[in-house]
Amino acid sequence: MSQLSLKHLEKSFNEARIIKGIDLEVAEGEFVVFVGPSGCGKSTLLRMIAGLEDVTAGEIEIGGRVVNELPPVQRGIAMVFQSYALYPHMTVYENIAFPLRVEKLPQAEVDQRVQAAAKVLQLESRLQHRPGQLSGGQRQRVAIGRAIVRQPKIFLFDEPLSNLDAALRSEMRIELMELHKRLGSTMIYVTHDQIEAMTMADKIVVLNAGEISQVGSPLELYHKPDNLFVAGFIGSPKMNFISGKVRSADGTTAVIDVGSLGTLSLPRSSTEIAGRDVTIGIRPEHLALGSGEFTLEVTPRIVEELGIHTVTYSDLPAGENFLGLFEGGPEITEGTPISVGFNRAQVHLFDHRGQAVY
Amino acid sequence: AQDVQEITFINCGDELTAGYAEYFAEWEAENPGFKVAPEVVGWGQCQDKVTTLAAAGTPVALAYVGSRTLKQFAMNDLIVPVPMTDEEKAEYYNYVPDTVTFDGTQWGVPVAFSTKALYWNKDLFEEAGLDPETPPKTWEEKIAFAKQITENTDAAGYGLVAKTFDNTMHQFLHWVYTNNGSVIDAEGNITLNSPQVLAALEALKEITPYSEEGPTAYEQNEVRAIWLDGGVAMIEASPGAAILAEEAGMNWGVADLPLGPDAQGPGTLLITDALAVFKGSGVEEQAISLAKYITSGERQWAAEMAQGLTPLRPLEPQTSELVAEKPYWQPFLDGIEFGGPEPLFTDYIGLQNVMIEMVQSVVTGQAEPQEALERAAGELEQYK
């Protein structure tokens, strides 16, 4: 049975519908990541689950019980705020200890737990500082500390690592994942970091303008996005989209006219798409220098060398952006045409409504 | 234990009036079972406090009040009458009993008396070319002297009081009572609009240019201070000014208030405070007894002398001795003969406002005397 379930959840601020009917099941111990564009309602949804926002319509169930009216602590959740919400008048120590003080734990236990959290978060030397004297990342870590000293059934994290550098961020990521394993608590985690989403999630929920676009495991979303939005949102750099028109679709193969790039035939069972406008998608990392089942020639406008790989930006004849990602640092120069190839199996197809066609 | 009843007594001032402590003890000895519980309240708040206590239904037994308020208390059934025998009345100076009389009976026991006389600054008179030893005797002289002083010295001739304070009416009443005028008669008719009062207002108007700058800003103490400082040559004030003038080392004189054309003799305003006995304290009898006890001849005299007040009674030989010792007392006693009381109105504040307004409108030139007088007389009707 699912531990947390959202049923037709809605939220309006005055007239504006921000959350437009969300249904979601979260199993106990699951690590769920919410992703979605800025302003799509992630924080709002999290705050509703926490019990900080009133529910406009629908139900929130935790452990089979409708909790719409319960205060946060009775829902057994802990939350890290996007804005940190540190108590400016307390030291870091007391900020972290706050939930334990509330529970009236003995000082020895408080101390032990706070020290442990501080160690994990590399805040030992800052325990006696006030939030006002901390850097942005330090503040964020204090906020995390305050959540982890409690051991709630459900953790809610609102972009908890957004102010950390890559090294600390990946350390913290590992820490959080180990925490997750150790405690077995359910975690709901908002992030806009692809790596966090992909590596930490058991299940990613992609939100778009207050609605769920797709729910699935990271690789499901990566490999089989349900729609254009998810395809474009998951994966970085973004998937290349090229518009085309279906010449024919006989139930096994669809033949697509992709303008000046020629024709593409893909194995698809749908016949409905025949004659309609479609979009094909290819991830930049699925392109290879040289040739493949399909080959095209592009002229990189920009070449970004990242060391680990190289990203090229080109324009297709029809004007679309076309990115390529190649391992390491191959010899590519801006303005010199290159041949890139890709394989049929790596091509995504979306119908005129943006739904994936497999 | 024995039941001792308290007689609460509000004594205005900053301390218990001199001698009262002993008188209380003596009186208590004569009246076993009663004890006087005095409370001293500063002058500024005394009247309000007494009134509030009475209005709230917890009156004091005995209190100092301005005699002018007696009518209001009486009309509202808050105080009991304290009739005087003819003998008692006769002991007092002329008109003193009148200050506490209304509807034919007395409503309080006079306890303090104040009269005014004209002070002048001899040095300024001399400087202006006047005879320093000759004070003005008539309004005409007063105005002429004032003019001469104003024109010939740095000082102003006359200290005019016209601030929005009760004393402005008092000072105007000096003019009224030195010209045989009145505000209200015994039958309760407003007699303000008379040739005598009109003459007073006109004289006031005439002397204004020879008074200090902005008389509407000054009340009596302030004008007195200006006089003491040599800023004005003549003022009308109580005996207290004499002591201050001595202290300041001035060259001064005091004389009867100058008289108007219709005057029959020296006059002044007679202000008294009285001890009022409040209804409902349960010890009204004893309060009356106490009031009369502490204001009897000699005791009253002692208290007056201690405070520098005009005596209520022409007690002899004390009065002669006083004048012999301090000749400046003479004019303060002279004026009593043709003086007049503060007019008794039900709404005393109303009266005061109307009179002040009248004086100010004339002093500031906003209204002509006749016009101001008519308006005031009309408005007074509602406060009788």
Binding site: N68, P71 | G57, N76, T164, G214, E222, G231, N353
Partner: protein
């Protein structure tokens, strides 16, 4: 937050002491007063109900409109000057320069000194013969003869306002100072980095962010000023020729001084209604203004 019912219960619990206290100590006498306003209560222990007679009399009195207008003008200038000077003071005292701790304390005395004493001191200042203002002006040769400020309607009117402002300024200043201190520093830094000078920052950032504080203070000042009695009473008693007579002075003179409690109560009720109406209008105006500023 959720569980609105709980929240309301908690709020009620928090408010209970205040409500109970005010109910017993103030509301009860208040109701008494309102009842009194329909009676002819005076010094006499008993009284009768006389309906609206008191109210009719108040509005029937000849100079009532004049007094109302004067009261509004007086109040308006006093409150605005308090706000302006208070803001001026707060800005000065907020500047990071040495000595502020002392200056802040030196701001307080008018507030601490018993009001009557402060007013007496102003009375001294305004005295034409011996006071500081006239005296200094004469010493510096600006005027040639004494200037008794309280003698003339106009100058007395302004003098009473100045004294009222003086008494009110410390509280306004300190409150504004506290409000100013709570504006996040980075907002100023951001504006500064964009080239906004002190004055510009004050106008576009400090001032709008202090709107709640300004509303609060002006509302409280409004009420206090409207009911300000001692100052005028001690300095001029409403004179000369009634030119500083405000509603409260008028009320006092014609009703409380004369101990007509019924009429006095009616006047108090009328004044309160006026203040209330004024506050509401004011409140709306300020809110609209502050929203306008942000657009």
């Amino acid at each position: 937050m959720t569980s609105t019912r709980n929240a309301t219960l908690f709020a009620i619990a928090l408010l209970a002491p205040a409500v109970l206290y005010i109910l017993t100590i103030v509301a009860y006498p208040l109701v008494d007063t309102i009842i009194l306003s329909f009676t002819n209560a005076s010094l006499r222990p008993d009284h009768d109900f006389i309906g609206w007679a008191n109210y009719e009399r108040i509005f029937g009195a000849g100079n009532f409109t004049e007094v109302i207008i004067r009261t509004f003008v007086w109040t308006f200038f006093s409150v605005s000057m308090k706000m302006v000077i208070g803001m001026f003071g707060a800005v000065l005292l907020n500047a990071a320069i040495p000595g502020q701790a002392v200056f802040r304390i030196l701001t307080m005395p008018p507030w601490i000194v018993p009001m009557a004493i402060g007013i007496f001191m102003w009375g001294w200042m305004y005295n034409g013969q011996f006071g500081m203002i006239s005296g200094l002006l004469q010493n510096f040769g600006i005027i040639s003869k004494p200037w008794p400020i309280l003698a003339y309607g106009d100058s007395a009117f302004w003098a009473t306002i100045v004294t009222d402002v003086w008494i009110g300024v410390p509280m306004v200043t300190i409150y504004f100072l506290a409000a100013m201190q709570s504006i996040p520093r980075d907002l100023h830094e951001a504006a500064w980095a964009d080239g906004a000078g002190r004055f510009y920052r004050f106008r576009r950032i400090t001032l709008p962010l202090m709107v709640p504080a300004i509303i609060t203070m002006s509302l409280l000042s409004l009420i206090a000023t409207f009911n300000s009695f001692d100052i005028i009473w001690i300095l001029t008693q409403g004179g000369p020729s009634g030119q500083t007579t405000t509603m409260i002075i008028d009320t006092y003179k014609t009703a409380i001084g004369s101990r007509k409690y019924g009429e006095g109560a009616a006047r108090a009720v009328v004044i309160s209604l006026f203040v209330t109406a004024f506050c509401i209008v004011y409140f709306r105006a300020v809110r609209r203004l502050s929203q306008g500023e942000a657009k």
